[in-house]
Every structure is written in structure tokens, then in C-alpha cells.
Symmetry: C2
Subunit: 438 residues, 2 copies
């Protein structure tokens, strides 16, 4: 049995997990792949750094060129994050005739077309199960199990950090800042959590899923993305009162042959499976024209779940199955691009929350502006202001929250209403507007 010889580029959390599975379970690898999988190199920046794994001598190296030039290495596991130098290294690996497994969603999102073209030119493949939703096999599901279907919609929770923060805020009645700090201490959130909490990470993953599901090219600039960083606990509580959870939802839907795409904190009815996904878990809800709705959930990140996805790709390549699948993937090339629906034309029900002065006419003014912009109201919550609040605010006008649920309207209508609302001195500057999932 010829072994499959593997190099890991980047021995961080996930890379260490991959090395652990390969080294601790050689028999499992032979049973599943039909041949041994040999870890020949692991490339790191700093060889001297203490690590939480013991590698065979000669495996650890800081010289990526030694992998590129080693013809015995069949497959490179590219686990460097970011765009540069990850992009150049991946191109070199492909040019050197190696198959590549990667978890780098940012790189695939930004430069997928270039990388996939190079792989095809070299008759090699790129496998990327680990790039989206960690241990959940959503790439296999889309690229292989759903091939009988025209995919109709994908709705997904793709960022575990955001979902953890939203869950903790509501369950423990804590502020965003407080929970974010804890998530960083627990290692859920990066030291710089911006890409997680502003929706970028989820949007990059949505780009990959959309290209795979709809065989079309899309990019981050074509759709609205917003994160959880503007949410207050009170919004989670009002949503709860109305029968919803707020989730950072990534949505990709085919409507009248146009793609509707967005990543936004979204109100999801509590009886839907997506609403029940708590903590750092991910879920993808996918609808196909034959299969109907299917749901996939599990750990969306973390060392061993992500390593599980990486190693399943390595085994797929050892068997030769990934190569056959790669040639058929509807990704970055085959179909005509589908038009993306202009953000302003996307319609939805909306949750609006204002802080307004508790005095006559304010609500009438708001209702008039919404009505003039073709936005009709489905329900309203305004609780009585507490006596404390009234007492402590004697000098100034008392601010009270007002929550409005609208009927279906376009984002364009909402934006133009918001411009008018901004002019009302009786409304405070922070106005929250969130879509409600269908």
C-alpha cells in the first residue's frame, strides 16, 4: 500500500488537531483510506515554540519551500489564515502538483476563482469541508448529497462566536461588552474579534456556500452584511417577548431567478430549528426543490471538530473521491452568473426599536413617517415607563423604548423612512432595525 504523504502548513490549533488524528490513529486511517496516511512535514513559523504535540523527528520545519519541492508529498493541508502569504503558497503548492486541503474561508472567498482555476490546470483538487461550519459536513452535503436538487434557499448560523455571545446575553442578562470579554478569555473569540462580530466571517462562508449551491460567482460587496456589535440586551429581550430569538443569520435564496443574499442579526420564530441553536454551535438549514428542508448542526469551530473535517478531506483525496467530485463541483466557473437582488429591493418584515421621548405626538410622528414610506405596522410594544425613570428624569424629557413590528416592506422603504426619522428630535440617535426571517 503506497502511503499518502501529507504536509501541514501552519501548526496552530486546527493543525495540531489534524496532526493528532493522523499520528494517534494510523490504523483508522488505513481502514478508512485503504492506505497509510503519513505526516511527512509540519511547517511552522517558529520551530522553537513549545507545542502541545510531540512530532516525529524531521517533521517540524520552518521551510515551506521544502514542502513545495518535495515530490514525495502528495497533499498539503493549508492552514495558514489570512490572504498573504497564504495565497501565494497555495498557488505554489498546486503548481508543484499537490492536492490541497484548506480551512481558509477568507482566501477561498477572495481568491477562489484563481485558486480553483490553477487546481484544474494542474489536474489537482482543493478540498475545503473545514472552511465552512467546522465539523458540520455541509460542503459534502451541498456538493454531493443534494445534487438531485435545485437548491432554493440556505439559511445558516455560521459564526459560533456571535451565537455564543447572543445566547449568553439573553440567558444571563448580560451586556454585549461583558460577554465578548468572556468569549475572548474562553478562546471562542479572537483577540481581535472584529471579523466575527461584524458579520464578515459569516459573509465569507456564505459566499462559499452560495457559489457551491447556485453555481454562480458572488462577492462580499454584492450584499448587506451587519454584525451583532450594535445589539443591546433589550433587543434580545423584546424579541423574546414577541416570540423570537435574534440570530446572526446568513441567507442565500433564489427568488424569481435572482439571488437574495444578506448577513444580518435576524429575528427567528422560536419554534424554528435555527432559533434553538445555542452557544458556539452552527446550523445550516437548506431547502432543495426535491428534498424539501434539511438541517445540519454541530460545532462550527474548535480544534477537533475542524480537524475532523480536514481529515475527512484528506481521506477523500487518499481514496481518489475528492478529485472526481472536484471536477464536477459547480463552483466559480460553470454556470452563467445569477443576478443578485439589489439590497433595497429585498423585502422582509422588520423589527424596529427606538428610544423616544415620552410625550404627546411622538408616536404619531413616527407612525406618519412609516406610513408615508409604505410601511404598515403589525404590532407595537411600548411598556409604561417606570416611576423611578420618571422621577430621576424630572429635568429632561423621559426616554422610553418603542418597538414596532412591520408588515412586509422593502429595505429601500425602510432606509428612506429612517432618513426622515433621523430628523425627529424626539427620537434618540440609536435606532435598531432588524429583519424577521420568513
Amino acid at each position: 500500500m503506497t502511503p499518502l504523504r501529507v504536509a501541514i502548513i501552519g501548526l496552530g490549533t486546527v493543525g495540531t488537531g489534524v496532526a493528532k488524528i493522523l499520528l494517534e490513529h494510523p490504523d483508522r486511517m488505513i481502514r478508512q483510506a485503504g492506505r497509510p496516511i503519513e505526516l511527512k512535514k509540519a511547517i511552522v513559523r517558529d520551530i522553537s515554540r513549545p507545542r502541545d504535540i510531540t512530532l516525529p523527528e524531521s517533521v517540524l520545519s520552518d521551510d515551506v519551500q521544502s514542502v513545495i519541492e518535495d515530490d514525495e508529498i502528495d497533499l498539503a493541508v493549508q492552514l495558514m489564515g489570512g490572504i498573504d502569504p497564504a495565497r501565494k503558497i497555495m498557488l505554489s503548492l498546486l503548481k508543484a502538483g499537490k492536492n490541497v486541503v484548506t480551512a481558509n474561508k477568507a482566501l477561498l472567498c477572495e481568491h477562489g476563482d484563481e485558486l480553483f482555476q490553477e487546481a484544474r490546470k494542474q489536474n489537482r483538487c482543493i478540498a475545503f469541508e473545514a472552511a465552512v461550519a467546522g465539523g458540520i459536513p455541509i460542503i459534502h452535503a451541498l456538493g454531493q448529497s443534494m445534487t438531485a436538487n435545485q437548491i432554493v434557499s440556505i439559511e445558516a448560523i455560521l459564526n459560533g462566536t456571535s451565537n455564543f455571545i447572543l445566547t449568553e446575553m439573553l440567558d444571563k442578562k448580560r451586556t454585549y461588552e461583558d460577554v465578548l470579554k468572556q468569549a475572548q478569555e474562553l478562546g471562542y473569540a479572537e483577540a481581535d474579534p472584529a471579523m466575527d462580530v461584524d458579520g464578515t466571517d459569516a459573509a465569507q462562508k456564505l459566499v462559499i456556500l452560495t457559489q457551491l449551491a447556485f453555481g454562480t460567482k458572488v462577492n462580499l460587496e454584492q450584499f448587506t452584511r451587519s454584525g451583532i456589535d450594535n445589539l443591546n440586551l433589550e433587543d434580545l429581550e423584546y424579541a423574546d417577548e414577541l416570540g423570537y430569538k435574534i440570530k446572526l443569520l446568513a441567507v442565500s435564496k433564489l427568488i424569481n431567478n435572482e439571488l437574495e443574499l444578506h448577513v444580518q442579526p435576524t429575528l427567528v420564530k422560536k419554534d424554528r430549528p435555527l432559533a434553538a441553536v445555542d452557544g458556539a454551535f452552527n446550523m445550516v438549514a437548506m431547502e432543495g426543490d426535491a428534498v424539501g428542508k434539511t438541517w445540519y448542526s454541530g460545532a462550527g469551530a474548535g480544534q477537533m471538530p475542524t480537524a475532523s473535517a480536514v481529515v475527512s478531506d484528506i481521506i477523500d483525496i487518499a481514496i481518489g473521491r475528492a478529485q472526481l467530485g472536484f471536477d464536477q463541483l459547480d463552483l466559480w466557473q460553470k454556470q452563467k452568473p445569477l443576478p443578485v437582488c439589489a439590497a433595497d429591493n429585498i423585502t422582509s418584515r422588520y423589527y424596529l426599536r427606538f428610544h423616544i421621548e415620552d410625550k404627546p405626538h411622538v408616536f404619531a410622528d413616527i407612525a406618519a413617517i412609516l406610513g408615508n414610506n409604505d410601511i404598515s405596522l403589525a404590532s407595537i410594544i411600548q411598556h409604561e415607563s417606570s416611576e423611578d425613570n420618571v422621577a430621576s428624569n424630572k429635568s429632561s424629557a423621559v426616554q422610553v423604548p418603542l418597538v414596532v413590528m412591520t408588515h412586509r416592506t422593502s429595505r429601500g422603504n425602510l432606509i428612506s423612512a429612517d432618513k426622515e426619522l433621523e430628523q425627529l428630535s424626539s427620537i434618540s440617535a440609536q435606532r435598531i432595525c432588524l429583519p424577521v426571517a420568513d
Copy 2:
């Protein structure tokens, strides 16, 4: 592009769905499979029967031999139910050099080893995504996406009819008999629903999943199976009161290198994803040593969901991917068989429900018997008997329900306690005993 030529054996609900996808979406098939998929034959018992699909001339036939003898046909979709003559036909198809796609779980459960050996001998493959959990791609997930893992446990809702009945009973406060009749009218339940409601269908699917997950041979005789046909609405209601849903749960777990297997109505905590699966849906919760827990759900039966799974297998064979995978499947042959834990040694918490006479000492007698058999009580529900009940039963002793939740104990202890309880004249004959999921 050489087309893949396909014959469908059995044009019932699912067969018609498969034919519809192949005939209505030839472009999709080419895009996904890289070549046309041509429906060359559809074999039925009675050609004259009116059908809800129009087939090209020359496709419909009642002569299965014409498929076996047609060397142009590469692949047979075997959708005949039952064991005979399905088994013989499938062997003939394999011997004639055809790859086979099937949804027949009973046949795979009973004769999988013979069929798989024949397929390997002929260098052909059997694909069976549709045999378990309909449109949910659980066979792909287990056989391909989880290969990096040692599977630790599978807990699944695999019979949509049973789940539909349980959901309707509790939601609408209806009796088992009443809902079963409706399920038959809706087409969810067969005219003879015995295999669905007595746990056999779920057990057959569990055998397939277990063999795939653990690479071991098991059969129906090795484990406890019971169905929902003995449950009363009151049990669903007591479970609800205690914070549980009752689900027909198929369980396969690796504990101390022994397999624990059973199919039983089981109490599942309401906050678990399995408890939230309502109606005719299925869910598989699977735990691997690297990936942790993952969940898969969707339509477990029905024309188009099952056809979606069948067609994804056809496409996999057209690409050549299924063949590579089949050679690696840990199924019916490779590993040493794992021992199956004797039913009496399996431990669990239990829900016990009795109808007892409302008079002194009855509860003390029950508690003594349970205690003598090493069963300790975690909680008890006994509601006051209503005045009506008391009034209408003046002549005889009033029967009241008693519900006991036990701490963890073995099934053996429970059975020996039950033998003693049977002797108590103050307990009515119907005693319900259900495990509680961990």
C-alpha cells in the same frame, strides 16, 4: 459524453419521483454528473395501470429479465420492497454487471452481507442513501464525512409515521387509534402499519447505520425493539409534565467496547434537538470522538425526498465516486464483530407508569418491590383522583395513575421487579416502562 443508462425496477411512489427528476431535469443531470443520465427502462408489475407520469415509449415494461440481459444498462434502481423476489433480482442484476441503487432497508438489513459480497465479487457497487432517513444524507455523512472519527453514538428518530402519530397525539390530545387512522388516510402509514409502529422499520435502519458506523455485523435478533403501539396519551402527557417528549428512539452506542443497541419509545429532555423533531420528520444525532455531536434532520420519507437521495446516488455512480467509496465502506465485512451488550445489562433511567387502586399500602408495596430489585426512585407523580372518578367508581376500588421516575438501573433489575409487580392485585395489567435518554 457517454450517457449513464438507468433502469428503475418498481415504479411506485419513490420510483415515479426518481423518473420525474431524471426526465424533467436532463440539464441538471449533465451539469452534476458530467454526462447525460438516460432512463432506459422502468419495470412494473402491471403495464396497463394508470400512472401519474408520462414515460417515453419503450421505457415501460413488465419484464425484469429485459433489464438483466440489456448490456447497455449500467445501473439498476432497485425499488421493489420486501425480501422476495427483490433479493433474487438484485443478485441477478449484480451478476449481470450492473451497479445498483436501492432504498430497500429490509433487504439490506436481512441480506446485506450476501448482496455486498456479490457486488464486490463483480466489482460493482450498491448505493443506498435512500434506505435510511429518506432525504437526510446520513449514509454519506457516516461513510464519508465522519471517516476521521471513531463513532461513539447514534441516537435517531428513523420512523416518520411513528413520530407523526406521537406528535399528533400530544398536540391534539387524541388517542393512538384515532391518529393512526388519519395517518393511513394521509398516506403516512401503510395499509398494514405494523412494521412502522412496532419498531421494526426503525430497527432495520438502525442495523444499517450501526454496521456502517461501527464496521460490525449486527442483526435484528440481537437487541430490544418495541414500538409506539402500546403507548397511551396519558404517558405522553405525564412525560410532558416531567419535562420530556416521548420519541421512538433508535440507539446505537459504543460503551466499553460493547455495542448498546435498542429501539424503544424513550423519554427525551425537551431541550434536546431530538425532542423538537415533530411530525413526519426524522433526525439523526451522531457523536464522533473528534467532531463531537452533529445533528441531521429532514423528511425521512415521501416521494421527492427519497427520490432526491436515490438520484444523488445515481449521480455519484455516474461520476464514479460511489464505486471508490463502496470499496472503502466499513460494512458487513472488514472489522472483527463487536460484542453486543446483553439487553438485561443495559442501564438507563426509567419512566414507570401504573394504574393502581387508590387505597393504603399499594404504593408501599410497589416501592418495596422496586427497592428489593435495586431500583431507586428519583421522582413520583400521583395526582389526586378527581371527585368524578371517585363518585363513578363507588362499587369498585378507584384506579389512579402512578408515575415513577427511577435512578439509573439495569433492564434486568426492571424485568425482575416487573415479574413481582405482576403479582400485585392492586395494580392493573397494563404497566408501562420506558427508558429515559441520557
